[in-house]
Symmetry: C2
Subunit: 401 residues, 2 copies
C-alpha cells in the first residue's frame, strides 16, 4: 500500500491524496461504501462501481458469524466471494462486539437495537447487567446477535479472521467505549486498546510472514479516548508510534467533534499515513472531517435511510413518502447525475415505496450513495482547485441538515 498527498489545505490539516492498494487506487478523501455482510444492501457490484464508489468495507464480526471467515477464505477471499474487483477493507469487529456490551442500551448501534428485540437472546444469554458481552484483559466473550451462541474474540482472533477475509486494508481490534462512559473507564479501556494494538501488530506480522508479497494486507491502528482531549492526544501519540500502515479514529461523534476531537488526533498522527474516521458520513460531518485531516469515511446511514425513503438533495433530505411527491414527475434531485435521477421520477419512486417493491430500495440506495460518494469527490476537487472553503460555504448554505 502506498499513500501520496497531492495537495494540502493552507493552515489546516485537510489534504487530497491517492491511496494505492494491491487491487486498485483510491483517490482521497473518499467515502468507503459499506457492505457489512459482503453485500452493499440492494446493489450489485456493477451498480456500486457505476455510482462512483472506489472501495468497499465489510465487517469481521458479521462475516465470522455468517457465513464464517474460513468459508470466505475457501471462496477465494472477500473480493472473489462478493464479485467486487476493487479495493476492500474490513472492520475488526471491535465496534460490533462492544455495542453488545459497553454501548448496550445506549442505542448507538443497530446491533444493540436489534438485540433488544430478540426474545431468546435477551432471556438466555445476557450477563447480570443485561449485556451480551464480558471483557477481560485478554479479550472478550460475547453472544451472537443472531442465535445467542457464545464466542470469544481476542486481538489475535480478529486479525486471523481478517486475514481469512483477505481485504486490502484491515483494522486493529479495539475497545469502542460508550460515549457515556466516565473518564476512569475511558482511561482503563484506552490502555487496554493500546496493549491490544501491539498484539494485533505482532500477530499480523506473524501471519503475514507466510504470505506471498502479492497478498500483503495493510493494518490500520485505531485511536480511541472518547471526548477527553488528554486521552485522545495520548492515544494518538501512542498508536502513531506503532508500525501501522494507517489509522482509524474510533468512537461516537457529534458535529462539533469533527473540529475538536478529530483535529486533536490528526495534529499528532503522522501526516504521511492515511486516516479513516470510522462510521461517519453525513454531509456536514464530511466537510468538518476533511478540513481536519480525514482521508477516508464509512457510514451505513446513506443506504439505511434510503431503504426508508429518505433521500439526499442539495437542499437537504426529503422523504419520498410525503404525499406531495405522488404526482411529482421531476427527478429525485434535479442536480444529480445518478442512474435513478437520470431515469425515474419522484412519482415513480413514491409508487415503488408505497407498493413495497424491492426496486424502491435499490434506486434510493443508488441515489444516496451517489450523492455522498460524489460529494466527497467534489470536496476533493475543491481542495485540488484551492476552493475548499468556497465550496463548503456554498454547499452548507444551501443544505438544510
Amino acid at each position: 500500500m502506498n499513500f501520496k498527498i497531492e495537495k494540502k489545505l493552507k493552515n489546516e490539516l485537510g489534504r487530497a491524496g491517492v491511496l494505492a492498494t494491491l487491487h486498485g487506487v483510491v483517490k482521497t478523501p473518499a467515502f468507503v461504501t459499506v457492505g457489512t455482510k459482503a453485500s452493499v444492501k440492494a446493489l450489485t457490484p456493477e451498480q456500486i462501481k457505476n455510482l462512483g464508489a472506489q472501495i468497499i468495507l465489510a465487517n469481521a464480526y458479521h462475516l465470522y458469524l455468517q457465513p464464517g471467515d474460513k468459508l470466505v477464505k475457501k471462496a477465494g477471499g472477500l473480493r472473489k466471494f462478493m464479485n467486487w474487483s476493487g479495493p476492500t477493507m474490513t472492520d475488526s469487529g471491535g465496534f460490533q462486539v462492544f455495542s453488545l456490551g459497553a454501548a448496550f442500551g445506549d442505542s448507538v448501534t443497530k446491533i444493540a437495537q436489534k438485540t433488544t428485540l430478540r426474545g431468546p437472546t435477551s432471556k438466555s444469554f445476557r450477563d447480570n447487567s443485561g449485556r451480551l458481552m464480558k471483557i477481560d484483559e485478554d479479550g472478550v466473550n460475547f453472544c451472537s446477535h443472531l442465535d445467542g451462541s457464545k464466542h470469544r474474540f481476542t486481538p489475535e482472533k480478529s486479525i486471523e479472521i481478517q486475514h481469512n477475509l483477505g481485504a486490502d486494508i484491515i483494522f486493529a481490534f479495539d475497545e469502542c467505549t460508550s460515549p457515556n462512559a466516565d473518564y476512569e473507564y475511558q482511561k482503563e479501556a484506552l490502555e487496554r486498546t493500546h496493549r491490544w494494538a501491539r498484539r494485533c501488530l505482532a500477530h499480523h506480522h506473524h501471519l503475514e510472514a507466510k504470505l506471498p508479497s502479492g497478498e500483503k494486507q495493510a493494518l490500520f491502528g485505531i485511536v480511541q479516548g472518547g471526548r477527553f482531549e488528554d486521552l485522545r492526544k495520548k492515544s494518538a501519540r501512542i498508536i502513531s508510534k506503532m508500525d501501522f500502515d494507517g489509522f482509524g479514529i474510533g468512537g461516537s461523534f457529534d458535529k462539533k467533534d469533527m473540529y475538536s476531537t478529530v483535529g486533536w488526533v490528526n495534529q499528532i498522527l503522522p501526516e504521511e499515513k492515511p486516516r479513516h474516521l470510522l462510521g461517519i458520513g453525513e454531509p456536514e460531518d464530511l466537510f468538518g472531517g476533511i478540513q481536519n485531516g480525514v482521508d477516508l469515511f464509512d457510514c451505513v446511514v446513506p443506504t439505511r435511510i434510503a431503504r426508508n425513503g429518505t433521500l439526499y438533495t442539495r437542499s437537504g433530505r426529503i422523504n419520498i413518502l410525503n404525499s406531495k411527491f405522488k404526482t411529482d414527475f421531476s427527478p429525485l434531485d434535479e442536480n444529480c447525475g445518478c442512474y435513478a435521477c437520470q431515469n425515474y421520477s419522484r412519482a415513480y419512486l413514491s409508487h415503488l415505496f408505497r407498493a413495497k417493491e424491492m426496486l424502491a430500495g435499490t434506486l434510493a440506495s443508488i441515489h444516496n450513495l451517489y450523492f455522498i460518494v460524489n460529494l466527497v469527490a467534489e470536496i476533493r476537487q475543491s481542495i485540488l482547485a484551492g476552493k475548499f472553503f468556497q465550496f463548503k460555504k456554498e454547499f452548507l448554505d444551501r443544505y438544510k441538515q
Copy 2:
C-alpha cells in the same frame, strides 16, 4: 401490430413467429416478464433486458388502485413511468377482480391468499358469502385488497384504464371462473364474457378513434370455458369471429390441459393471429403449450419462487437454502449463462439468503427469469431447426419437475 409465422411444427399447432409492436419486435414463442405494479420485482429494466426479456406485462387492476392509471398516463404511460424501452402488455384486471370473488377461497391466486390475511378487509367488506366482489350483467363491484375501498369495473372501465396505461397490447375484460365452478355457472359466465368482449371492442374502437396512429394499441380477446370441451370450443369460435388483434386463453390449468384445453382452442382460433396463454410458465407447460400453438406466456412463478430461494436448473428445481449449498462454490447452474451464474457461487447466494440480503432476491430472480426466457427462446430455435421433439425429449428426460 403485425404477426408473421416463420415456421410451423409438422402435424401440430405449434409455430415460431415474429410479433412486431410499435415499440419493438417480439420473437415468438416468447415468455413475457411480469411487472404487475410497473416493476419486475427486484430488477432494473437493464437487468431485465440483459437476461433476454423482450416484453413486460403489467396489471390494470393493481395500477388502477396504486398509483392510479391517470397518474401513469400523466407520467407519459407505462413505458416511460417504469423506464422500459421495449414492448409492453397489460392484463385487463378480470383475473384479479374475480380472484376476489368466484375464485375466492380456492387459493388459486396470491391476492386471494393475501386478502385472507387482512383483518380489516375481511371484517368490513366481504359480502355474505365472504367474497370481496359482486358481479352483475353490466360489470363488477369489488373491494380493494389494499384498503377495502369500494370500486366498480365494467368492460368499458377496464379498456379506459388500459388506454391510460398505454401498453402496446391490452386484453378484454373477462370473467375468470373458479376451476371448481359447475357447468351451468361456466356457461352463464362464458356468455357474459362474450357480451363483455363485444363491449370492450366497441369501447376500444371509440377511444382509439381519437388517437394518432403512432399510439394505437392492439386488443386481445380472451377465450374462457373452464375444462369443458364444448364450452372452450364455443368460446374460441365466438371470440375468434370478433375483430381482435390476438387472443388470450384464460382460466386455471394443469399439465394435461396443455394438450387438451389449449389444443381445442387453438385448433379453432385463426392461425394468423397471436395467442397468449395467461398465467402459465413452468418448463413442462411451456413445451406443451408451444406444441399446441401458444405464442406468448406470462407467469409470476419464476420470480416468486426465486425470492424464496428456489432456483431452476436443467435437472430440476433446487432450494439454495439446503445446507449442502453453504459450501458449494460452483455456479447456481453449470449450464447457465446468466449474470448470477457467471459471477457468483451457490455458497454466496446461500449466504445472501441466510443473511436476508436484498441482493439474494435480485440474483435469484435474474437466474430464474433467464432460465425460463431462454428456455422458450431455445424451444423457438428448435422449431426453426426442425428439432422441437428432440429438444423436448432431451430437456424433459433430464428435468425433474
